[in-house]
């Protein structure tokens, strides 16, 4: 029973999801009186409780294995804190958006809590059965949320496209897992690592099925790469982000991506440690293709929501760069895993903020086109200023969190002597500046004659303010976050046998 305390965040979210669901079924205040905002408040409350439970696990001394399939460690807890913060900010800001567009708010918030639960399980799972089930749980719930506005053609097209791409990717991943099971006889990441270490060490006697390891690794990478929207599996991302309700796009591009990277990191660093020479170059190639494709496609977008979708594909490329440069031998401050975690943390607040600005504009003028942003500095000065902070952070300008994220992943790549990778990353960051700055230019330097001030809801403003403060905080004073980050990555790296 002692294990229950260690999975407190998951239990809180499960109870919360079921509670909201039952409330929705049982309580009927009468036609037209149903308020989604109370469900939103409940969800935010449960998410906050889960956040507190995860924060309490941030300084756990030793990794604890709960119920044999969940590893509760600082790495997982840090990612959980990141994910839950993003979900809370999205929930608070998105309540009104969903309330206006759908009559089934109870269902929406149930799924929202369940999606958080799925991500939370995925980042802790140390067994491929649980990894697969959690990823599928996350995916299936996300398909429903993406297509949640049933009568909206854009939303249900987004949902169906996401479903078709997503289930192909996860079936491919499953086939890879089945091969890995055949090659090693176990689905626990630690046992898989031990089995491979034995095979590699004993080169004379390569056991029958060890050759399946590399294909299996590639197939699993295809499945997880899909969730993290890496090229060449990113085609769903722009369409889905563009068509789905903006709160859903917000978490798909941030929290869900963070969960996918956590699973990728745990799988490669713990399970596939013996094959680092094989997977590092593969991941490097994926990283280069991802950032280049994402940036080139983002350059020609006039729709800001779609531009942010491609930009989040490109950001995934930079994050992957950190994973390439993981040093399992001697963890140092400049380690790639530190870069990944710091980048995810900064990126989460920045990108949630950017999508929330899109949501504010969508609410006010019902458009996501760049023309809607013209002269924003006159119409809503604070909104324009905060959006500028987010865009600068996505570009990687100092004094914002994005700068330190990029600094650490590029630093790690250079330290591991991936000079060409870092160089291509720099060129890409330069290309990216064009399209980010184009929006800033539209906001500040173009006039809109029929300029009227925008009405931004209070809840949305609060979320935006928190995102801005967090983005600048990481940029000005990164050492606090860096302490958590390096503790987290040291704990993950030291379990490598």
């Amino acid at each position: 029973m002692g294990d229950l305390g260690f999975i407190a965040p998951e239990i809180i979210l499960l109870i919360g999801g079921l509670f909201v669901f039952c409330l929705d079924v049982a309580y009927d205040p009468g036609v037209g009186k149903k308020s989604g905002l109370s469900y939103m408040a409940l969800s935010a409350l449960f998410l906050s409780a889960a956040l507190i439970a995860a924060v309490l696990q941030l300084d756990i001394e030793e990794p604890h294995v709960a119920f044999s399939m969940m590893t509760v460690d600082r790495f997982g807890s840090f990612i959980k804190v990141t994910i839950f913060s993003g979900m809370i900010l999205t929930a608070i800001a998105g309540g009104r958006y969903i309330n206006r567009r759908s009559g089934n708010q109870g269902e929406f918030w149930t799924f929202f809590l369940m999606v958080s639960l799925a991500m939370s399980i995925a980042v802790s799972a140390n067994n491929l059965v649980l990894v697969y089930l959690a990823i599928e749980f996350l995916s299936i719930t996300s398909y429903m949320l993406a297509g949640f506005l049933r009568e909206n053609r854009r939303s249900n097209e987004a949902g169906l496209k996401y479903f078709l791409y997503g289930s192909i990717a996860s079936a491919v991943m499953l086939y890879g897992i089945s091969l890995l099971y055949g090659a090693t006889g176990s689905l626990y990441l630690n046992d898989i690592a031990a089995a491979f270490a034995e095979i590699i060490g004993d080169a004379q006697e390569i056991s029958g099925l060890a050759f399946a390891a590399l294909p299996a690794m590639l197939l699993i990478l295809a499945g997880l790469g899909f969730k993290a929207s890496l090229a060449p599996f990113y085609q769903w991302a722009p369409d889905t982000y563009d068509g789905s309700p903006t709160p859903v796009a917000t978490y798909l591009s941030t929290a869900s991506k963070a969960a996918a990277f956590a699973v990728l990191a745990r799988f490669f660093v713990v399970g596939m440690a013996s094959f680092e020479v094989n997977w590092a170059p593969v991941l490097a190639a994926f990283s280069i293709i991802t950032m280049t494709m994402g940036n080139l496609a983002a350059l020609r977008q006039n729709n800001v929501k779609r531009m942010l979708a491609y930009s989040s594909v490109a950001q995934a490329g930079y994050i992957l760069m950190g994973l390439v440069a993981v040093t399992s031998v001697s963890p140092s401050a400049m380690d790639g895993l530190n870069g990944v975690l710091l980048y995810l943390f900064a990126y989460l607040f920045t990108n949630v903020g950017a999508f929330l600005v899109v949501m504010a504009l969508e609410e006010a003028v019902n458009s996501t086109d760049i023309s809607a942003y013209q002269g924003l500095i006159k119409r809503a000065p604070w909104l324009a200023a905060m959006f500028t902070v987010f865009l600068l952070s996505l570009t990687g300008i100092p004094v914002t969190g994005g700068f330190f994220g990029k600094f650490y992943v590029f630093g790690a790549a250079i330290q591991r002597q991936y000079f060409w990778l870092a160089a291509i990353g720099m060129i890409n960051a330069g290309i990216a500046a064009f399209y980010y700055l184009r929006v800033i230019q539209a906001m500040f330097f173009t006039q809109d004659d029929e300029a009227e001030t925008l009405d931004v809801p209070m809840a949305l403003q609060t979320s935006l303010l928190i995102c801005t403060i967090a983005t600048i905080w990481v940029g000005v004073y990164p050492s606090a976050v860096l302490d958590w980050v390096s503790d987290a990555s040291v704990q993950l790296l030291t379990v490598v046998p």
Binding site: G147, R150, A171, Y181, G182, G185, P238, N303
Partner: protein
């Protein structure tokens, strides 16, 4: 006992058929059928590996995982069909080539 390689070849064939179906067909339901084939290919692999004892025999990992996947495939099909119906109601087609509002 039937050799392991026969099962693996059957599974690989099934997986390839499923992947081809999922990628080449334009009808959303046919794509869903392809996906189901891919899931079942993995099931055959898991059970065959278990039967041929890659791990200890009393460790039922392969079998149990296969049962989970059967359940999960049903859940996935339910959600997929629901999404397909939602699309069909709005546009009277489930041809994925005609889903082109979102593009660019």
């Amino acid at each position: 006992m039937v050799p392991l390689s026969w099962y693996l070849m059957l599974a690989a064939f099934l997986f390839s058929c499923g992947l081809y179906g999922a990628l080449a067909r334009r009808n959303a339901i046919a794509m869903l059928m392809g996906i189901e084939l891919m899931l079942n290919a993995a099931n055959i692999n898991l059970v065959a590996f278990w039967r041929h004892g890659v791990g200890p025999m009393e460790d039922l990992t392969g079998q149990v995982f296969a049962v989970f996947i059967i359940g999960l495939a049903a859940a996935e099909a339910a959600v997929g069909l629901a999404l397909i119906i939602a699309v069909y109601r709005e546009r009277r087609t489930i041809d994925v080539e005609e889903l082109d509002i979102l593009a660019g």
